[in-house]
């Protein structure tokens, strides 16, 4: 269980985290989403006491992180920037961390096996690929077999096989009853892993919802209708609060009336419908909708940072 109360971090003029209050519950994967620069990493660093909040408090399993006698046993942490000395072997890195809390050597070997680094455990971490580094980070996080995991962008740099592995690992950890808090700027990834989402933008809480709720929140409430008699149907549907846009000669995008009612009206008039589809926003679109006004950098559409560009705002 993670609790943030009115968490605020100010760097000079800039509010990196602005009055953030949320709870992360055990047993599920909770995604921490926001565009780049939204304050996710700063928030996570405040949760574990690396950064002191300007105001507010953070508690993990009932107390501030620093008041736990054996923090590694309570909370496993993977930080965005690799927190690993490049000159040290994977095994020695883990042994040094394990020593602080008296975690036995066999547990070190266990986590090395678990993340699949057995063959390279003797190699210097500096020579590791990004994916191997992330695996070593996960091994460090799991070292104390903690009830709570705080992972900052764990899928960054992983290949597809690694992403799948991470996804299953996170779900398995949550299924065991652990609290799993995972940040990402990729909605699509979170859609597959998380069941609850905390969305922030410019340091502010934008949404604290289930994945389904987020989709619904941003739903455009539009119905796509395809019929050879589009013009006739348009006339029948017209009314208060109803907006109809025609795409092609036989397609209507209708909002203000639900699909059930459209179907009924068409049937009554003897109009054949070829297609009748309620349009839900994709999670990706929902995320962009929610974060629309809080994106730090707007890039032109041909930039590779497309995830951070809200729909319709990109330069043409």
């Amino acid at each position: 269980m993670i609790e943030a109360r009115r968490l605020t971090k100010r760097y000079g003029e800039k509010l990196a985290v602005d009055d953030l209050t949320f709870e992360v519950k055990p047993g599920i994967v909770t995604g921490f989403l926001g565009p780049n620069g939204a304050g996710k990493s700063t928030t996570m660093r405040m949760l574990i006491g690396l950064d002191a909040p300007t105001a507010g408090t953070a508690r993990i399993n009932g107390r501030p992180y620093s008041e736990h006698g054996a923090p590694l046993r309570e909370v496993g942490v993977l930080l965005e920037a690799r927190a690993i000395h490049t000159g040290r072997s994977a095994r020695n890195h883990l042994l040094a961390l394990a020593a602080t809390t008296g975690i036995p050597r066999r547990r070190v070997e266990e986590v090395i096996d678990l993340v699949g680094l057995t063959d390279v455990a003797k190699k210097r971490a500096g020579g590791f690929s990004l994916g191997m580094g992330q695996r070593l980070g996960i091994a460090s996080a799991l070292l104390g077999d903690p009830a709570t995991l705080i992972l900052d962008e764990p899928v960054n740099g992983l290949d597809p096989e690694g992403i799948l592995w991470m996804r299953n690992l996170l779900k398995a950890l949550a299924a065991e009853g652990r609290t799993v808090f995972v940040s990402s700027h990729l909605m699509s990834e979170m859609a597959l892993t998380a069941s609850h989402l905390i969305v922030i933008g410019r340091g502010r809480l934008l949404a604290d919802v289930t994945v389904d709720e987020l989709t619904r929140m941003a739903s455009r409430d539009q119905v796509k209708v395809r019929t050879p008699e589009a013009a006739r149907l348009r006339g029948l549907l017209a009314g208060e609060g109803v907006v109809i846009a025609g795409r092609d000669s036989d397609v209507l995008d209708v909002s203000g009336v639900d699909s059930t009612r459209i179907g009924r009206i068409a049937a009554d008039a003897g109009i054949a419908l070829v297609e009748l589809t309620p349009q839900h926003a994709s999670l990706e679109e929902a995320f962009m909708e929610v974060t629309r006004d809080s994106v730090e950098f707007i890039a032109p559409t041909d930039s590779y940072e497309l995830q951070a560009v809200p729909a319709g705002r990109s330069a043409s």
Binding site: A70, L72, L79, A83, G87, L95, A96, A99, P104, A147
Partner: protein
């Protein structure tokens, strides 16, 4: 995939983070880096090798030209001369064991494991000081013994029993240990390898040179209190009236080291990691 089930969390008992455990952790960290081995070997080579070389050269010189000069010949100091350059190696290592963690991000893992930060600093300092002291003492003793063998061939060698000799050998190890502590302290203050090295060698090497710009009356009062002139008095056995006494000198040097560590501790506590 198998993950240890949460029900099995009692599979290994641990208890909390303690100072001895942090010391063990820092010991694992120190011995698992190549830079440690290289720096310590360099320090030993500087102390023993340079001490022997200088002693041999001086012995040869004395055999041909006599001892010369009005001052008393300081045989112990000649053989321990390497302790003047060993701070380069020890200083670099002392800075690196701290700034290496900040540079790579390792410090965040260290402080996440031990969020009550200061014990981490004490552990680092304890382990490094102990290692430097032991290596300093052994190499200082070796440098003295081997150096005096050369000097004895010119009949100017002294034994450990000679006045001040044992103190110089032992004091050499203390001086080196304090250099290490100064370096660790500066590492925590500045967090950056380049900056901390510049500060360290600025204090040790540049300051005495800069002091020469002072008017003579000031220079005489100031120079002997600067880190290197003060700290290295412990390695001499012939007293120089313009310098501090060996123990006063090392005490002054200790003040610099303690100040750096104290500021480092303050910064570690106060600033975000």
């Amino acid at each position: 995939m198998s993950v240890t089930a949460i029900a099995d969390r009692v599979a290994f008992g641990t208890g909390g983070v303690t100072q001895p455990r942090l010391i063990k952790s820092e010991w694992v960290k120190l011995r698992s880096l190549r830079s440690t081995v290289y720096s310590l070997i360099t320090a030993v080579v500087f102390i023993v090798g340079f001490g022997m070389l200088l002693s041999a050269l001086r012995a040869n010189d004395i055999k041909h030209f006599g001892i010369g000069g009005p001052e008393r010949f300081d045989a112990a100091a000649v053989s321990l001369r390497g302790l003047f350059i060993a701070p380069l190696a020890i200083g670099v290592l002392g800075v690196l064991i701290v700034t290496g963690e900040y540079g790579t991000g390792m410090i965040r893992a260290s402080l996440a494991a031990a969020p009550r930060r200061l014990p981490v600093l004490w552990a680092k300092l304890t382990v490094f000081a102990a290692v430097v002291f032991v290596i300093g003492l052994v190499s200082s003793f070796l440098a003295f013994t081997l150096g005096q063998m050369f000097l004895s061939s010119a009949h100017v060698g002294v034994g450990l029993g000679s006045p001040g000799a044992a103190r110089a050998v032992f004091g050499g190890a203390i001086y080196l240990t304090l250099v290490g502590m100064l370096a660790v302290g500066l590492g925590f203050v500045l967090r950056n390898t380049g900056g901390a090295l510049a500060a360290l060698f600025g204090l040790l090497l540049v300051l005495p040179v800069l002091a020469q710009a002072l008017p003579t009356s000031w220079y005489n009062h100031v120079f002997k209190f600067l880190p290197t002139p003060a700290g290295t008095q412990i390695i001499t056995t012939v007293s120089d009236p313009s310098s501090l006494s060996p123990w006063d000198g090392i005490a002054v040097f200790a003040v610099y080291a303690v100040a750096a560590v104290a500021i480092g501790a303050l910064v570690l506590r106060r600033r975000d990691a």
